[in-house]
């Protein structure tokens, strides 16, 4: 509704509002993109609700120990949220968030996971759950929606990857950032993508030995795009910094290699690393064993799209084969009144997320104030330029680390592909080869792969790849529909209704610790 004024003016002195109130903008996710968007939108005078599943702001990138843990750790043991410049950026965002919360411009709801979004009149109703068990939380209404839902780690299966001690690379980093815990003392880092370097550096700093960093692609692909690198000087600089730190720590960086076996029954004792050809096919008899007690593995990140897909936003296939929300220059999705910023539009990292969050907020403010998209400020133009450069790097990164078809050759028939339902590659191959399944959906119907607790988030990419025969032209896959976006108790589902008769929105902003019902 262009031209509608911010309803902050209509609000009585920041008192807690009831669900009858409709915010001007709801931002889902308080990571870099969501934070930048929320504070910029509030700067424009918009009335913002910022919802986040975590107990404190920052998302996965700025993740840090909760206050009570940081208070008892020696200073040296608290990992920095980011490099010094990144710390300053985060502190600035937090200061602005605090100021806007005090002034009533932003309502911040930590510990609220949005499980579905429904259309209400000309706006949206966001249904939330709180706590560890998914109990019903308040429903929040807003006229506009910004999805800054971030990403999660992409995985490719390999023999032994369900052995305890094999953990996500990003997962190991997350546990270290917020929980001061390591999965082992001697941790091999493997997979593909620049995140692995950051993970290895974090593990080393925390006192783990990292005997090897095993990269399936090579880093040479970046050199083929000097102009993109020149436009993103911080990226190669960071790579060199991490590389130097790894050399100093005695980490052997191996490229064009992958972990093709895990040894150990109840926990990791060693891994086999094999050389890969250009298509990521393991080279026979090239395996070497590395002793370790944990393996941190991952193939970059993949966008978190549940809400976008449910609302009906069109997607695109990125250079690495992952799906992302299709966005225009102004971060609009194909659904009017819905924008997205950061990783949902394609994995690009923290810099891109900050740029897009701010840019989306300017676009939303222009929409609210009824300004033409052509009336842009210098700031918006320079953000647009920055975004184009950062998106180019994101596409390059996706291209360099796109899994080669040959990875399927390291998957044995008894390798579990779907961790939740324990569906092996053999069963998937039977579904494809003998039962005629030609897409992930049919494979799911025949094998249950992707039907478990995680709803295919972990195995979806791999199942799709296994469902098309090697070398077949990759068709644009349809995005997975996963409603609800997170676990919801039936009682919460039963209590959720479209728009009317909602309980008042409780603006108690202390995070729910989520222990309701887990104490006896």
């Amino acid at each position: 509704m262009p031209g509608s004024t911010s309803d902050r003016a209509e609000r009585a002195d920041g008192r807690s509002r009831t669900a009858g109130d409709v915010a001007c903008l709801a931002v889902v996710g308080a990571g870099p993109a969501g934070l930048a968007a929320a504070v910029t939108a509030a700067d424009h005078g918009l009335d913002v609700v910022l919802l986040d599943a975590a107990a404190s702001p920052g998302g996965q990138y700025y993740r840090s120990p909760p206050e009570e843990l940081a208070a008892v750790l020696p200073r040296a043991a608290v990992p920095p949220r980011a490099a010094p410049k990144g710390q300053r950026v985060f502190s600035g965002l937090m200061d602005r968030l605090a100021a806007h919360r005090a002034a009533g411009g932003i309502r911040y709801l930590p510990g609220h996971h949005v499980w579905t979004v429904t259309r209400t009149g000309s706006g949206w109703t966001l249904h939330t759950v709180v706590g560890a068990r998914g109990e019903g939380g308040p429903a929040v209404r807003a006229r506009r929606l910004l999805l800054a839902t971030g990403a999660y780690e992409r995985q490719l299966p390999f023999p032994g990857w369900t052995t305890p001690g094999v953990v996500g690379a990003a997962g190991a980093q997350a546990m270290l950032k917020s929980g001061h815990a390591l999965p082992g003392r001697r941790v091999v880092v493997a997979g593909s993508g620049p995140l692995l370097q950051a993970v290895a550096v974090s593990l080393v700093r925390a006192g783990a030995r990292v005997p090897a960093l095993v990269e399936a692609a090579g880093y040479g692909g970046y050199a083929a795009a000097p102009r993109v690198l020149a436009a993103n000087p911080s990226k190669p600089a960071e790579g060199l910094r991490h590389g130097a730190a790894l050399v100093r720590a005695g980490v052997r960086v191996m490229s064009h290699r992958a972990v093709t076996a895990v040894h150990g029954t109840d926990r990791v004792e060693a891994v086999t690393v094999s050389r890969l050809d250009r298509d990521w096919r393991p080279v026979p008899d090239s395996g070497r064993t590395i002793t370790c007690d944990a393996l941190a593995v991952g193939h970059g990140l993949t966008p978190q799209l549940e809400l976008a897909v449910e609302i009906g936003c069109a997607t695109r296939t990125c250079a690495d084969g992952s799906l992302a929300v299709r966005l225009d220059e102004r971060l609009s999705t194909t659904v009017p009144g819905v924008w997205a910023a950061g990783e949902p539009g394609g994995i690009g990292g923290v810099g891109l997320a900050l740029t897009e969050g701010e840019l989306a907020a300017h676009a939303i403010a222009a929409d609210v104030q009824g300004r033409s998209p052509r009336e842009t400020s210098g700031r918006v133009r320079s953000l647009g330029r920055a975004r184009r450069g950062q998106r180019a790097f994101a596409e390059l990164m996706a291209e360099v680390h796109r899994p080669g078809h040959g990875w399927r050759d390291w998957v044995e028939d008894d390798t579990e592909v779907c961790r939740c339902e324990e569906v092996t590659a053999g069963r998937i191959r039977t579904a494809v080869g003998e039962l005629g399944a030609a897409d992930a959906r049919t494979v799911k119907l025949l094998t249950r792969a992707g039907m478990g607790w995680c709803q295919g988030r972990t195995c979806g990419f791999a199942v799709r790849a296994l469902a098309v025969s090697a070398g077949a032209a990759a068709r644009d896959p349809a995005p997975d529909r996963r409603m609800p976006a997170c676990p919801v108790l039936l009682s919460a589902l039963a209590g959720a209704d479209g728009a009317d008769g909602m309980e008042p929105l409780d603006v108690d902003e202390s995070p729910d610790t989520g222990r309701g019902g887990t104490r006896s």
């Binding site: 008892v72 040296a76 953990v167 610790t513």
Partner: protein, 122 residues
């Protein structure tokens, strides 16, 4: 059920390499910031604000669930609530994601067998 052998903490601080964060003694001694909960009846030290998964990792425990089909051990994998590998039974309630739930003193955490709903069939 397969007993998981605990071992000395591999958490940061336990390592002796240069650059290791110095450890904080958890545990229920009553005079430190740490506290204890139990895992399958054994005491596990935790620090305030640590998730159950982080505390279990720090105690050298990597698995606290057996799978529904093959009865294989599983623990934390993604650490951000997405993968559900880390489901565990807490104070009798099954299917709690250990990576998301902060530990509190005297929690009774037990290995979750399969769906954790065996009681329904008794």
């Amino acid at each position: 059920m397969r007993r998981i052998r605990a071992r000395t903490s591999p958490g940061p601080g336990a390592a002796t390499e240069a650059g290791a964060g110095s450890g904080v003694e958890g545990g229920g001694t009553g005079d430190g910031p740490g506290f204890e909960f139990t895992f399958d009846g054994r005491p596990v030290a935790a620090l305030p604000g640590q998730s159950l998964a982080a505390a279990l990792w720090s105690a050298g425990v990597l698995s606290w669930r057996t799978t529904r089909v093959n009865g294989r051990p599983r623990g934390a994998f993604c650490s951000i609530g997405t993968c559900h590998d880390c489901l565990v039974t807490v104070n009798g309630t099954p299917n709690i994601r250990a990576c998301l739930l902060p530990a509190v003193p005297r929690d009774r955490v037990t290995t979750q067998e399969g769906s954790g709903r065996a009681g329904l069939h008794e």
